[in-house]
C-alpha cells in the first residue's frame, strides 16, 4: 500500500526547506532523496529571485548582485506570488526594502525601487492616447478650474527626498550627473516607450493633487500656497505633454 502524496504537502515542502521530503516522493531507487527534491525548491526560489532581479535592475546594480540576491531571497521567502503572471510579482518590494535593516545604508534604495515598479506598470499598462494639449486648450475656453484630470493608465508620480531620477538615468545613459537633493519623477508612456521625467517640486505637488482627484482650481490653489510663483498653466501643458493624464471630467 503506497502513500498518496497530496499537492498541499508537496507544495508545503517545496516552500519550506526545513520540512522533510514528503513520504511517497522517491528516487528511482525508492528512497527519499533530499537533493532531488531540492531541485524543485531551488527552481521556485531561484526563479522568483530572478523575477525580482529582472524587475529591479537599477536597485540590483546599486547594491551589487550579492547583496541584492540575499535581500531578494529574504523577500521571496516571505512573499509568494498569488498569480501565475510574474509581471505582477514583487509589486511591494519597495515597502520590503524600507523595512529591511540591511538596506539602511542605502536610504534611497526603496524610492528607486518605487520608480522601477512604476516603470514596470507603465510598460505593461493599457494603451491609451494621453490627454492632448489641444484638448486642454478647449477646456481653457470653458471654466478650466472646475475640471479634474484622470491619470493616464501608464502614469505614476514618484516623489523622493533623494535624486532618484538622476540615479535611474545614470544607469541607463552615460554622462548623467547625480547631485544630492530631492527629486520628483513622473513615469509615463505617452507613446511607444516608457519615459522617466524629473519634474519641478511644485509641478509634482500639483500633479499629485490632480492624480488623486482634485479639480485644477483646487490643485493650483494648494500648490500656490507653497510655491507663490507657481504657473499652473505652464505645469499643465508640461505634464500633459509627457502623458500624465488621459481624460477630463467637469467636477461641479
Amino acid at each position: 500500500m503506497s502513500i498518496v502524496v497530496g499537492q498541499e504537502a508537496f507544495a508545503a515542502a517545496v516552500l519550506d526547506p526545513t520540512l522533510p521530503v514528503p513520504a511517497g516522493v522517491v528516487s528511482y531507487r525508492g528512497d527519499a532523496d533530499e537533493k532531488r527534491f531540492a531541485v524543485y525548491r531551488n527552481n521556485v526560489h531561484v526563479g522568483l529571485v530572478g523575477v525580482v532581479a529582472a524587475k529591479y535592475p537599477v536597485c540590483a546594480t546599486l547594491v551589487g548582485e550579492e547583496f541584492f540576491t540575499a535581500m531578494a531571497r529574504l523577500y521571496v521567502a516571505s512573499h509568494k506570488p498569488t498569480s501565475p503572471i510574474m509581471m505582477h510579482y514583487a509589486s511591494d518590494f519597495a515597502a520590503f526594502i524600507e523595512g529591511f535593516e540591511g538596506a539602511r545604508p542605502v536610504p534611497y534604495l526603496a524610492d528607486v525601487a518605487r520608480l522601477e515598479q512604476a516603470w514596470s506598470v507603465a510598460y505593461n499598462a493599457r494603451d491609451e492616447q494621453p490627454l492632448s494639449i489641444g484638448h486642454l486648450a478647449s477646456l481653457a475656453a470653458e471654466d478650466l478650474g472646475s475640471f479634474g484630470l484622470a491619470a493616464h493608465p501608464a502614469a505614476a508620480l514618484v516623489r523622493s527626498a533623494y535624486p532618484i531620477g538622476s540615479i535611474w538615468s545614470a544607469h541607463h545613459a552615460a554622462g548623467v550627473a547625480v547631485r544630492p537633493g530631492a527629486e520628483s519623477v513622473l513615469v509615463s508612456r505617452p507613446g511607444a516607450e516608457v519615459n522617466v521625467t524629473v519634474i519641478p517640486s511644485a509641478d509634482a505637488g500639483f500633479c499629485g493633487e490632480l492624480l488623486s482627484g482634485a479639480t485644477i482650481a483646487a490643485a493650483a490653489a494648494h500648490t500656490l500656497d507653497q510655491h507663490p510663483d507657481f504657473d499652473f498653466g505652464r505645469a499643465l501643458v508640461g505634464l500633459s505633454s509627457i502623458g500624465a493624464f488621459s481624460s477630463s471630467t467637469r467636477k461641479d
Binding site: 537533493k35 509568494k80 498569488t82 499598462a125 508612456r189
Partner: protein, 292 residues
C-alpha cells in the same frame, strides 16, 4: 500569418532583448514561440512587438501557468486570459504542460510533477477537455522533465500521455530534452521512451540544454535548465525521434542566460538541417507536417 499549423521547421523563443533585431533583419526562422503569461499585461511594448512579429512569422503560444495537473480547479480567469490572447494573435499552436504550478493561493512559478494513477488521469483528462472547450481549439500537452517519482504511480508516463490524448483528442508536445532529463534521472532508456511514444499525436518537438548535477547518492542528475546549447546526446535522440515522427515544428528553448540572437539562430539552423535530412530519408510521409 494565417497558416493553420506551425511549419515543420525550427522555431525560437521570442525574447524582448531580440525584438528589434528580429523585426529589422527578419531572419529565416520557421516560427516563434512565447510564454502566454508574459503577454497577459494590458498593453504596451510587449503586445506591440508581438503583433509585429506575428505579422511576419507563425506563432506558438506556450502556457506555463494553467496548472493542468493540479488538484485545484482550473482558474477560469486564467482561461479567459488565454482565450483573449488566442483571439487576438490567432497562434498556429497552443500548448501546456503535464504538470502543476498553483496550489490554493500560491502560484509556485515552477512545473511540479504529479503521480500517474487512474485518478490523476481522470483529472488531467477532465482539465484538458475543459481547456479545449474554453479555448475552442485543440491543445498540445507536453511531457515533463522530472527529478522524483511517486510510489503511488501505477501508470507509465507514456501510457498516461497516450490516455489523455486518446480521451480528449489533444495532441502531444514531445520535449526531447525532457525525455533525456527524466530518462537519465530515473534510469530508463531515452531511446526506448521515444520508441514507445504515441507519435501519431505529436504536433511539436522541444529541444533545450540541460545542466549536470548529482543526487544525494552521488549519482548523475540532469536539470532541465534552458540555459545552454542542446547537448550532443539530445541531438542524437532528436534525430532518432525524427525518424519516427517525420519532420516536426521544433523549438529550441533558451530561457535563462539568453545569448545573442545569432547563437539562437545557429541552433535553429542545426535543427533545420536535422529536419531536412530526416525528411529526405523518412519512410513515413503520412505523419509529415508540411507548412501550409
Amino acid at each position: 500569418m494565417s497558416a493553420k499549423r506551425l511549419p515543420a521547421r525550427a522555431g525560437l523563443g521570442l525574447k524582448p532583448q531580440h525584438y528589434t533585431q528580429i523585426l529589422e533583419t527578419v531572419p529565416d526562422i520557421g516560427f516563434f514561440e512565447v510564454h502566454a503569461e508574459n503577454y497577459m499585461g494590458d498593453g504596451g511594448p510587449p503586445h506591440r512587438y508581438l503583433e509585429a512579429v506575428c505579422g511576419r512569422y507563425p506563432l506558438s503560444l506556450h502556457g506555463v501557468g494553467l496548472s493542468i495537473g493540479g488538484e485545484d480547479r482550473l482558474s477560469l480567469d486564467h482561461l479567459r486570459r488565454l482565450r483573449s490572447l488566442i483571439e487576438r494573435y490567432r497562434p498556429q499552436s497552443f500548448s501546456e504542460h503535464l504538470a502543476w504550478s498553483s496550489h490554493g493561493e500560491s502560484a509556485l512559478n515552477d512545473l511540479l510533477p504529479l503521480p500517474y494513477t487512474g485518478a490523476t488521469l481522470d483529472r488531467v483528462a477532465a482539465h484538458v477537455d475543459q481547456v479545449q472547450q474554453a479555448l475552442g481549439r485543440r491543445m498540445l500537452l507536453e511531457n515533463p522533465s522530472t527529478y522524483v517519482l511517486f510510489a503511488e504511480s501505477t501508470i507509465a508516463e507514456i501510457d498516461f500521455l497516450a490516455g489523455v490524448a486518446g480521451r480528449t483528442g489533444c495532441g502531444l508536445l514531445l520535449d526531447v530534452n525532457n525525455v533525456m532529463v527524466s530518462s537519465v534521472n530515473h534510469r530508463v532508456d531515452p531511446f526506448a521512451y521515444v520508441d514507445r511514444f504515441p507519435v501519431e499525436h505529436v504536433g511539436e518537438i522541444h529541444l533545450a540544454g540541460y545542466d549536470e548535477a548529482v543526487d544525494a547518492a552521488g549519482e548523475r542528475l540532469l536539470i532541465d535548465a534552458h540555459a545552454s546549447r542542446v547537448s550532443p546526446d539530445v541531438w542524437a535522440l532528436f534525430r532518432h525521434t525524427l525518424g519516427r515522427t517525420g519532420p516536426q515544428p521544433t523549438l529550441v528553448e533558451w530561457d535563462n542566460s539568453v545569448p545573442a540572437f545569432d547563437v539562437l539562430a545557429d541552433e535553429a539552423a542545426l535543427v533545420d538541417a536535422a529536419i531536412a535530412s530526416a525528411g529526405s530519408s523518412s519512410g513515413a510521409p503520412s505523419v509529415r507536417r508540411m507548412a501550409s
